[in-house]
């Protein structure tokens, strides 16, 4: 059976062009970038080249602004803890939206345990940050504010420029977790006024094991990973040259193709939204138009997400869910609860994230499979009267 992969937000295959470009750094050009002989310097050059490509993707001021890390989670930890501890004189309060990824929430909670005040800004029913509430909550002691560029569960894109203005008027630094938006929508850190930005390699068809943190010139942070002093002392550890070289090439391709690829994906997204919401008691979650071009998320009344996932897998289609049963904690998605869904509504979620392997002609099979899955599970459900 042909698979249809619709969970690009969880994992992406490394693009064949990226692999071709970076594979030499696995076996042949395997040197340590800190070694002064040619083999080492070739590896160093690979890292420098990748740094330039990532700089270009987000219009950073210079390559010095980019720190390579091992993952987006690591970048988030570095951004939040590294900035809060280094700039303790600016205040001991931190803020985030209520729908951040757990790799932002947990570092924030950790700061809270260590004496910082941590508050979360509510969102509306589409997941957009409540700017009025935000203006009231931020103050001159708010050293780090973290708001994601776009949400991975509901696709909603935040008004980052406006948020940046508020942060710089009333608080200190703005961190933006751009993992879900990496390579999908244009990001210009200078234009948006962003101080710290997290991006992820695997979220743009690069190898797992690499991420990056952009740090605006003038913003001081301290390292979380201590050791040999790589990445200008801000992230020690011998560089994962293969993954970083791959990440750079992935960034270059993403920038080049975004103009054509994102509209292509948007057509698929919109067709899926149009057809799937025709199913009885099926609703789109997140903003209808101000959402990532490749992202279509739904909730279905009276049925549960993990069983949706398993049923769809039987059709050869891989999807994601935010349901409690599929999470390690058995709690409903904090994002879905934050946009106002009741617990039992939050359990019936299905998140589709499209990529290069998807095409418009897959839509009929996807829609048919969703229809049959929903029908089948509703026959089983005690909530359908």
């Amino acid at each position: 059976m042909d698979s249809i992969y619709l969970d690009h937000a969880s994992a992406m295959p490394v693009d064949p062009r990226v692999f071709e470009f970076a594979k030499k750094y696995i076996k042949d050009s395997f040197g340590n970038p800190s070694s002064l002989y040619n083999l080492g310097q070739d590896a160093k050059e690979a890292v420098d080249t990748a740094r330039k490509k990532v700089t270009d993707l987000i219009n950073a001021e210079s390559e010095k602004s980019i720190i390579f890390t091992g993952s987006a989670t690591e970048s988030n930890n570095l951004a939040i803890r590294g900035t809060a501890y280094r700039n303790i004189k600016d205040g001991k309060e931190v803020l985030s939206s209520i729908i951040e990824h757990i790799s932002v929430i947990n570092p924030m909670k950790d700061l809270q345990k260590n004496g910082w005040a941590y508050n979360t800004v509510p969102v509306d029913k589409y997941g957009i940050v409540d700017l009025n509430a935000f203006k009231k909550m931020i103050n001159k002691n708010t050293v780090v504010t973290s708001v994601m560029y776009a949400n991975n569960e509901i696709g909603t894109i935040q008004p980052i420029s406006e948020i940046a203005k508020i942060v710089h008027e009333k608080g200190h630094f703005l961190h933006v977790d751009a993992t879900a938006a990496t390579g999908r929508i244009p990001i210009d850190v200078q234009k948006d006024g962003i101080d710290l930005l997290t991006i992820s390699s695997n979220d743009m068809y690069g190898p797992r094991g690499a991420g990056a943190l952009y740090v605006k010139p003038g913003v001081k942070i301290q390292s979380v990973m201590l050791g040999g002093g790589q990445e200008r002392g801000l992230r020690s550890g011998t560089e994962n040259v293969f993954a970083i070289a791959g990440m750079g090439e992935a960034a270059r391709i993403a920038k080049e193709e975004m103009g054509k690829e994102s509209p292509r994906l948007q057509k698929i997204r919109d067709k899926l939204i149009q057809e799937i919401t025709k199913i009885d008691e099926s609703y789109l979650t997140g903003h209808p138009t101000n959402r990532l071009p490749h992202h279509a998320s739904f909730r279905f009344s009276h049925i549960e997400g993990e069983s949706i996932l398993l049923n769809m897998d039987m059709y050869g289609i891989q999807i994601a869910t935010g349901s409690a049963c599929s999470s390690k904690t058995l709690e409903a998605s904090h994002v879905l609860l934050a946009i106002g869904l009741k617990h039992e509504e939050a359990h019936g979620s299905m998140v589709l994230t499209m990529g290069r392997s998807n095409s418009l002609d897959q839509v009929p099979k996807i829609v048919k499979s969703v229809k049959e899955t929903v029908e089948r599970l509703r026959k089983l459900s005690p909530l359908v009267k």
């Binding site: 398993l310 390690k328 617990h343 359990h347 459900s381």
Partner: protein, 112 residues
């Protein structure tokens, strides 16, 4: 994902309902009993793959049994029949056994 015995029984001899949709787990169990033997059993489940599997499995274990024998079916029995469940899913099998027991208790109460 081919659950057995899905459905409802009109005028069941015993009916059990456990769990709640807030937690993401709700099971309804219906039994038909003749001379204290479970002759028919049907269920409906709102829940994950393990919840559906364990409800289905408990109906297979219970059918044809004497109600007192069926009362002895534990979550461990259900999990064993499925060749084991991951630890965070064990509560689903608990729910399945509880739903069956609730239906049997209901039957016994009605009988009096």
């Amino acid at each position: 994902m081919n659950p057995r015995n899905v459905g409802v029984i009109e005028n069941p001899d015993g009916y059990g309902k456990v769990g709640n949709p807030v937690c993401g787990d709700l099971m309804e169990m219906y039994i038909k009993v003749e001379n204290d033997i479970i002759t028919d059993i049907k269920f409906k489940t709102f829940g994950c793959g393990s919840a559906i599997a364990t409800s289905s499995m408990v109906t297979e274990l219970a059918i044809g049994k004497h109600v007192d024998e069926a009362l002895k079916i534990t979550r461990g029995d259900v999990a064993d029949e499925l060749d084991g469940l991951p630890p965070q899913k064990m509560h689903c099998s608990n729910l399945a056994a509880d739903a069956l027991h609730a239906a049997i208790e209901d039957y016994k109460k009605k009988k009096k």
